[in-house]
């Protein structure tokens, strides 16, 4: 029942995506906050695109726009050949909706506390309609089994489960209609270390078995390394580096990526480099040039006035930084 997908054609194409939020009351103090600015990327069938950034980087906003939870302010999103932005976007989204799903950060908030596990997992099925009672029950058991939970859990309520188990249930719901693409928004950030490893392994096993593609949003570069094929690093709403996994970790080009990697606490005893100074700027008064400029150790004059564009510095490796303009 799955549509055939060509492995060489991206299932997701995002071009110049933009999202603005109006902030402040009407009139005085009203401003526009650009949460996502000019983001372009593809997701190929069966791959995981990791999206990394700190708070305010716009990573969650991108994820929410991809599944239609937030409308885009500009730019284009194409899912499975359907353009879900623009005037005909709603119709197009309805046609591909069954192929998309979303896994949330907080497994406690992601389930209606008054519903049974079977009804939570079967919600996408119930919304789609047309399933017999038997088929629905069988599918729920199958899904529970798929995420490593006992089928006996179907009649229970969410409050009876631990965080790690809840996240498995949320994943089971996401798989209900056999989607092709799942946005995981900080899907393991709320879990303890030992649960986190279990859930990450589960997501990867499912990818192997079902041929899923993920957009994996996280703030933790180590987690992203474990799951991703390619990685986009976001800073202040813009993609500053986009590359394959090994290139990003072995040869990070953007000063921000380098700083992020250096800042990860590592479970080994020893001294380390001083961290990058400052914090993410408010996007209400974004600097004229490069957004990182005030914090960047390598900034020069041009960085203050001119925003760098994302350009390819090696095959499949793009960076938005003036340091690489000469290349």
């Amino acid at each position: 029942m799955k549509d055939t997908t060509d492995p060489a054609v991206p299932i997701i194409r995002v071009r110049n995506l933009r999202r603005d939020f109006k902030v402040g009351a009407r009139g005085r103090g009203r401003g526009v906050l650009r949460a996502v600015n000019d983001a372009s990327f593809d997701v190929m069938p069966g791959e995981t695109l990791g999206v990394v950034g700190e708070s305010g980087s716009g990573k969650s906003t991108i994820g929410r726009m991809l599944v239609g939870l937030l409308p885009a302010s500009g730019g284009e999103i194409e899912l499975f050949g359907e353009t879900i932005t623009g005037p005909l976007g709603k119709r197009a989204l309805a046609r591909v909706r069954h192929r998309l799903q979303f896994v949330f950060q907080d497994p406690h908030a992601a389930m209606n506390p008054r519903m049974r596990i079977s009804d939570i997992i079967a919600e996408p099925i119930d919304i789609q309609g047309g399933w017999s009672r038997k088929a629905r029950a069988d599918r729920v058991s199958e899904l529970l089994d798929l995420v490593g939970l006992s089928a006996q859990f179907a009649d229970r309520f969410p409050h009876e489960f631990s965080g790690g188990q809840r996240q498995r249930i949320v994943i089971a719901r996401a798989l209900a209609l056999d989607p092709d693409f799942i946005v995981c928004d900080e899907a393991v950030a709320a879990l303890d270390v030992s649960m986190q490893a279990q859930v990450i392994n589960l997501l990867m096993d499912l990818q192997d078995r079902l041929g899923l593609s993920y957009l994996f949003i996280a703030h933790d570069l180590a987690v992203v390394r474990a799951v991703s094929t390619r990685i986009a690093v976001l800073y202040a709403g813009e993609i500053v580096e986009l590359s394959g996994k090994s290139a990003l970790y072995e040869d990070p080009r953007h000063p921000y990526t380098q700083a992020l990697l250096a800042a990860i606490p590592r479970p080994e005893v020893g001294v380390r480099k001083p961290p990058i100074r400052g914090e993410v700027p408010s996007m209400l008064n974004r600097p004229a040039g490069c957004a990182l400029c005030p914090r960047c150790p390598s900034a020069f004059d041009r960085c203050k006035t001119e925003a760098p564009a994302l350009r390819e510095v090696a095959p499949g490796h793009s960076v938005a930084c003036h340091l690489y303009d000469g290349a």
Binding site: E54, S55, S162, G163, G164, Q165, D192, V193, S194, M195, Q196, A197, Q198, I200, N201, M204, H219, D220, L221, A222, V223, R225, A226, K245, S246, Y249, A259, L260, L261, A262, A263, I264, P265, R266, P267, E268, V269, G270, R272, P274, P275, I276, R277, E279, V280
Partner: protein, 324 residues
């Protein structure tokens, strides 16, 4: 300087009492750093809050002794403890936004501690507050004292909390997940700051975190807690280079690395037992690869593996004994 002996903490729930911290003992030298690591429900934060007796009294039962400079904090009258809080022992928390009063300037809030404990007047307190903001590396400190908490970023707020905590130059600072709510780059800055301040002031620091990486970088000595019990107490180097308890080992292996590619992560099977439903023997036995039948029968004791290294695992203790 600090000696915790057989500390147990129970909380009242609907169905009776549940044990949150079970017979924890450890010692801390002046000017040293101690990390307490564990997952949620391990009792690490409860242990730390007990040192200042910050639990609601009505629903908590604490037994054991917490000796600070020869005095038992658990037996101490409330008034005496009040004097010590903030002056000798200070604490910072995970969420700097909810720990600050939104309607007072940060200068007022820092000054308050000084006025209470050192009897400074308003003007002197404000000046001292500016000095403290300078100490926690808040740029332009003199102007910042009149700011309100909402005007500061998360990292700046945590710096303000630290300034309040060190105002009286305490001899012990307890930091409970101080960087969990912060971004990675800011987290590194705060950790650097704590490290520097410890040397400047000469205080001991207890860092509580779920993040082993963070603790490894900061602490000289590390306690690993699991399901309310201390399972390993060792110098940081030992824990991270050669963890002896199977739980510490599993936890360490389960952390994804930013430095190497892994096809699959190591995962400890199962989950932490509920506090009301712990297994009869070793709490970790149901998840442990080394578990023997005896492990599920009797609760193991914390024992010395090597000088300065204690673990709660009879299997590993037995394996090392012939060598020792």
């Amino acid at each position: 300087m600090l000696q915790v002996e057989n500390l147990s903490v129970d909380f009242r729930v609907d169905s009776g009492w549940i044990r949150s911290v079970d017979e924890v003992s450890f010692a801390l030298d002046a000017q040293s750093t101690l990390g307490i690591v564990g997952e949620s429900g391990s009792g690490k934060s409860v242990t730390a809050l007990s040192i200042l007796r910050l639990h609601a009294r009505r629903n908590t039962r604490m037994t054991g002794r917490i000796v600070f400079d020869g005095e038992d904090l658990l037996a101490m009258p409330e008034r005496r403890l009040h004097e010590m809080r903030g002056r000798d022992i200070a604490m910072i928390f995970q969420d700097p936004m909810h720990s600050l009063n939104p309607v007072l300037t940060i200068g007022d809030q820092i000054g308050e501690t000084l006025r209470i404990h050192q009897g400074l007047n308003r003007a002197a307190a404000e000046k001292a507050a500016a000095g403290l903001l300078d100490m926690v590396r808040i740029p332009d400190a003199k102007r910042r004292v009149t700011d309100f908490p909402h005007q500061l970023s998360g990292g700046m707020r945590q710096r303000v909390m630290i300034a309040m905590a060190i105002a009286c130059r305490p001899r012990l600072l307890i930091a409970d997940e101080p960087t969990t709510a912060l971004d990675v780059t800011v987290q590194a800055q705060i950790l650097d700051l704590l490290r520097d301040l410890r040397e400047e002031i000469g205080m001991a620091v207890i860092l509580i975190s779920h993040d082993l990486g963070l603790v490894a970088e900061f602490a000289e000595r590390v306690l690993v807690m699991y399901a309310g019990e201390l399972v390993e107490d060792a110098p940081a180097r030992n824990i991270f280079e050669a963890p002896a308890h199977p739980y510490s080992e599993g936890l360490l292996k389960a952390i994804p690395s930013a430095d190497v590619d892994m096809h699959r992560l190591y995962a400890i099977p199962g989950r932490i037992p509920d506090p009301g439903d712990r297994p009869p023997g070793c709490n970790f036995a149901p998840r442990c690869a080394l578990a023997q039948p005896a492990c599920s029968a009797t609760p193991p004791a914390l024992d010395t593996l090597a000088p300065g290294h204690r673990i709660r695992c009879p299997v590993r203790l037995a394996a090392r004994e012939p060598a020792a």
